[in-house]
């Protein structure tokens, strides 16, 4: 009996270790992307190291040409479109959750009429992940 309890305890510990390894690996992947991005910052600073900063003047000179102005305008437009697209998506998501919260109760009642022992996915009433289930 004691051996069985010890084995169960060891297995639980192994579960926790493997779960931790999975999380650590995921964090490593995400962190390595940020490292790469900061490496780009380093490259950008390094490219100016030891040089006189005519950058602003050169940038203004560059922008004065028609082609660069068009490129800049397109870039700004793209950023604005992307930002509004994301905001629109977020708004739609909120509306969808409101609808789920309003209608899910009726669906549950209908299913319970036909199947009193119906099981549930146990999500929050607006379809979100339960706070206690979040990592």
């Amino acid at each position: 009996m004691e051996n069985k309890e010890e084995a169960e305890e060891k297995t639980k510990q192994l579960d926790i270790i493997v779960g931790g390894c999975v999380k650590a690996f995921r964090t490593l992947i995400n962190a390595s992307v940020y490292v790469l991005l900061f490496y780009f910052i380093y490259l950008s600073i390094n490219s100016l190291a030891g040089k006189e900063t005519d950058a602003n003047i050169a940038l203004l000179a560059d922008l004065s040409t028609g082609c660069s102005k068009l490129l800049l305008a397109l870039t700004i437009l793209s950023v604005l479109l992307a930002t509004f697209g994301i905001l629109y998506g977020r708004k739609q998501e909120r509306l969808k959750k409101d609808v789920i919260r309003d209608l899910s109760e009726y669906r549950t009642k209908y299913e319970q009429i036909l199947d009193p022992e119906r099981t549930s996915s146990n999500l929050a009433n607006n379809g979100d992940t339960r706070p206690e289930d979040k990592p």
Partner: protein, 193 residues
């Protein structure tokens, strides 16, 4: 000077793309997986309501609970979790979990008439297809490698998948065993998966 502008632009675009993929796109895919699984569960419910399978049958209960578990922990399903589950299957507790799931499933299918058996298997196969699509779309390496291939051969893959002829489909029972336990009330995710 042009180098500086290019580097800054590259940095900003890379950061934005990474954020879009790892946060926003992942949120979207999780919501999509849940929506598909809810629709699947609803179709399964309607089949039971029309009398094709009994609400009290083991096959119905097991399948529904498994779908519930997948819905509940859709936000945690990814390739690393799947690898972790398969790796853990060597431990005695997880092996017991898988054995329990397999025994329950086989018992339920052996007792059921052919039509009900086909319905349960069809529902399972469809669930696995949605979960696998989610796994591919939420990992950057799998996404870049496999999505173009899947885009062109989607119908052929789905046909083969539905015929239960891909051995990968059978591996998904590892995830099913964990999802069935997760579909229970008051279960902490780490202990189920």
């Amino acid at each position: 000077m042009t180098n500086l502008v290019l580097i800054i632009l590259l940095f900003l675009v890379s950061a934005a793309l990474w954020w879009l993929f790892s946060i926003e796109y992942r949120k979207y895919r999780t919501a999509l997986l849940r929506q598909r699984l809810f629709a699947l569960r609803d179709r399964f419910f309607q089949e039971a309501a029309s009398g094709k399978i009994d609400f009290d049958s083991e096959g119905y209960k097991i399948t529904r609970k498994t779908i519930n578990g997948m819905i509940r922990f859709a936000h945690e399903i990814d390739i690393w979790r799947l690898i972790g589950i398969i790796a853990l299957m060597k431990t005695s507790r997880s092996a017991k979990q898988l054995a329990k799931y397999n025994n329950s499933r086989e018992h339920a299918l052996s007792e059921a008439p052919d039509e009900q058996k086909k319905l349960v298997i069809k529902t399972e196969v469809e669930m696995h297809f949605y979960v696998l699509a989610h796994i591919i779309h939420t990992n950057i390496f799998l996404f870049l490698l496999l999505t173009p291939f899947i885009f062109f051969f989607k119908r052929r893959i789905k046909r083969k998948w539905n015929k239960d002829s891909l051995s990968l489909e059978k591996r998904m029972h590892y995830l099913d065993a964990a999802a069935l336990e997760a579909g229970g009330d008051g279960v902490q995710f780490q202990h189920a998966f």
